[in-house]
Symmetry: C2
Subunit: 273 residues, 2 copies
């Protein structure tokens, strides 16, 4: 029985291990769940991945990652919608508790950020009936504003809460400390999210940050006040599992067992409320 409710986003050890090894390691280190990425699942096949997760006894706390609906033309937008529907089916097959959805970037050559955000909303609306039918919640994840151009055109929890308001049932939010820690509206918007909070991801912001993508920090190595954010999230009604997700050249170069041991130890100390 794990003593702390922590899930392992498998991107954290994606250079050390493939799916089976990563899941076994998560169980060995007392993680209560895992969150796989699509490429790792595809590598073994969805049915085999489902078997691995089931046999591990671990929860599958999220499936990464969908959304990314903006595209330069109608064919591109339709392809993204179709792909998200396939992903919903995969999520159901592997027993994932939600799909993490990000905004996507500006289409090639575009400078229309409001337009990209509208395409994200339209794409969500298009796949939502499929997600509802499959019983897979879509966890809308605001991404740090430094990714607004090329990955996540929706940057704030406020905007994701707005989308939940507009589109209704079947949507929730994923709150990743790395993406939102800077936001002055965070207390208000976490409270507003309330029961919509599906995922709470943890990752630290390093000073200095040497790379915009792959220099994220282990909890405690940076400047994020994890207990403060967790207290807000619990006050809003979410007391569920947290998920550690760290993209880091530094940690990818360490032995996987060391990464998991450190992550679990930091979770139990640095992140304790």
């Amino acid at each position: 029985m794990p003593t702390a409710e922590l899930s392992l986003n498998l991107a954290t050890v994606s250079r050390q291990w493939k799916l089976r090894e990563a899941v076994a390691a998560a169980a060995r280190h007392d993680f209560a769940g895992v969150a796989p990425w699509r490429d790792m699942v595809a590598e073994v096949g969805t049915a085999e991945a489902a078997r691995v997760f089931k046999e591990s006894g671990l929860r599958v706390t999220g499936y990464c990652r969908g959304g990314m609906f903006p595209a330069a033309d109608g064919a591109g937008r339709k392809a993204a919608i179709d792909d998200n529907k396939r992903m919903i089916d995969e999520a159901a097959e592997i027993g994932a508790e939600c799909i993490v959805m990000i905004g996507g970037g500006l289409p090639q050559g575009s400078r229309d950020l409001p337009g990209a955000r509208a395409m994200f909303a339209d794409g969500l609306a298009a796949v939502l009936p499929h997600a509802r039918a499959a019983g897979i919640p879509l966890a809308l994840e605001p991404m740090h504003p430094m990714y607004a151009a090329d990955r996540g055109c929706v940057s704030t929890l406020a905007a994701m809460n707005d989308l939940c308001d507009q589109l209704g049932e079947g949507l929730g939010v994923a709150i990743d400390t790395y993406h939102v820690w800077w936001d002055p509206d965070l207390p208000r918007e976490i409270a507003r999210a309330g029961k919509r909070i599906i995922s709470h991801h943890i990752c630290d912001w390093l000073v200095p940050t040497r790379h915009m993508l792959n220099d994220r920090g282990m909890m405690g190595d940076g400047v994020i006040d994890f207990p403060a954010i967790r207290r807000m999230i619990e006050a809003a009604g979410y007391r569920g599992i947290q998920e550690v997700e760290i993209f880091s050249e530094r940690w990818w170069s360490r032995p996987g067992d060391e990464v998991l041991a450190v992550a679990m130890e930091r979770f139990r100390t640095v992140c304790r409320v």
Copy 2:
């Protein structure tokens, strides 16, 4: 007579030229103003800098940069306040139209971002009487959230507008496209800023951005919709000079005259409303 109202933030050519050469180059390329940094002024002395600016006939559209009040202890905070007061005196001596103020980073070892923001507000309140007496407006510049930890703890125009509301006369805002282009509240907050808009800085966001500090883009090379933002700013009542400010290893490595020629050409084409 310059045909376009563009000022040159001297950081743009800080590796090519010292103060006198940079000012002469700005005049040669039809810039209507310059915005110096403190180190460049200190190098020749305030009195000599004042003479250089006056003889050039150019406006001194801003003096960079003040603020940065958060510090680990009272002595540090007092030192920052005293230094800002000295900077106000320098600004008056060189004929600067405003001082650009940024939030500053978290004090060493701190994870208290709201606390740092409060120190910024307190520091502003402490220097504001001195700024009013000197007739130097303080232009509050929100910085991109990726600088929240180590440079600019105040990330949004909304928060700077709030500070203007709280602290009153003598404050305004500096809107730099690079820092705010991603903000979904930008239309609302530019309209709210209205007559408080003192500075409009232009710089593009590159995709990919290879360095968080020194890979900013020349207008037109990135994804920012300059006419759209300028239209909002003009609708809010500011039709004044713009200021190009680009921190870029790429452009610092080019001949200064090339940088200024390209900047002026892009300003007249890419940024035209």
